[in-house]
């Protein structure tokens, strides 16, 4: 009886752990998609001149980016290596093979976001300068550590 209890508990824990890992992968995808929407859809669209400059929207987008940047480093635990996501992208196993380098990319992105957030963007010229800087941070890491399916 005891043994059965332990076995069932272990199995449940195991299933729980798998769900938790998949959950981290989903959080990662959500966070990245939010970042993309804020950088491309909000800030990028204004920098390109497709949308009129809107200070409140700029502030909100940057606040969200800064908030997401805080947790980015935690969204790639070792136990999610090899887990696939629903989207067209997934995390490359290289993240866990070159962890220190990957972490330095995350730190560099976080630093760039925090600098923009601390300085604040007050006009279109500042926005035009900031967006490509952030964009380069995205591709800097995606170059090596993001896989495209198919």
């Amino acid at each position: 009886m005891k043994r059965m209890f332990v076995t069932v508990a272990a199995v449940l824990l195991g299933i729980g752990a798998v769900y938790a890992q998949q959950d981290v992968v989903n959080q990662r995808q959500t966070s990245m998609k939010e970042n993309g929407k804020n950088i491309g859809g909000v800030l990028g669209a204004m920098a390109k001149g497709e949308k009129p400059y809107d200070q409140a929207a700029v502030d909100a987008a940057i606040a969200k980016l800064a908030e997401n940047a805080k947790t980015m480093g935690t969204l790639f635990p070792e136990n999610t290596k090899g887990l696939k996501a629903d989207g067209k992208y997934s995390a490359s196993p290289k993240i866990w093979e070159n962890r220190a380098d990957f972490d330095s990319h995350v730190a560099s992105y976080t630093k760039a976001v925090n600098e923009v957030s601390a300085a604040g963007i007050k006009n279109l010229d500042a926005l035009k300068a900031a967006v490509p800087t952030l964009g380069k941070q995205c591709s800097g890491c995606h170059e090596t550590y993001r896989l495209k399916e198919g």
Binding site: G44, K48, S139, R146, E149, G150
Partner: protein, 305 residues
Amino acid sequence: MMRRLSILAAIIIVAGFAVYWWLTMPVVVAASALPAHTPDLSNGKTAFNIGGCSSCHAVPNQPDRTRLGGGLPLTTPFGIFHVPNISPDVKDGIGGWSEAQFVTAVLEGVSPQGAHYFPAFPYASYHRAKLTDIRDMFAYIKTLPPVSGAAPAHEIAFPFNIRRNVGIWKLLFMERQPFAAVAGQSPQWNRGAYLVNTLGHCAECHSPRNALGGIVAAQRFAGGPNPEGKGWVPNITQKNLDDWSEKDIAYFLESGLLPDGDSAGGSMASVIKNTSQLSAEDRTAMAVYLKSLAPVEGPARPKSN
């Protein structure tokens, strides 16, 4: 009779070999063929950036794009190419090269020793570039730091490892005509067409290739399997980019950001490092040209799982 036949056979073999030798002769640009020229370093830097030299030749895993020590392995269906050192190092790089040797290498795909380079080096595109751009590029590369160390030899399987055969490849797939401006198109469009088709060598990855590694001309720019291995290179004709504005394309080349906020990844991230260094005018010119590409259906993409 037997003796006559074998003599005939020998003559045919020798003649055949002579024809092969003649067909595959490397083209060399002589120093005497180069007119007087004062190098323009700023134009050389532009040519270097649009040429994407750093993407392959910069030392991997370090941030400095001007350290051209090579060493990056390129895994292709034909084997592994190890990118050579093109820094101005005299021993391991191109520090000892004459200008004519550099021009021959970039425009004709022929080494100072007179051997064909493999077309992993995109000279089939560079071939159509302006001579002055290549000479300026040489002058600019000479100002960069020398890096010592040579890359290992390429690991290419027979028969692709026979460099002389590349002469046949060149006859089949290398466009001989230098770039000519299209009358009736704006100077901006022509500048874009020049950058995209010659130094920018966009079609080298964004087109499907046949079994011999030649670009399928009818599907130029229509995407295909990644020549560097895994994945798929997108179609950049209006078949796929019809919802991108000129501004979107130019902005992507500057920032690496797609209209939907996604960012460039993989090899394209490295290309953006080059195109972000260009002038806004050049990026816009490329966008104007790319936006004008007629929609072309690319090869069928395998279903992702």
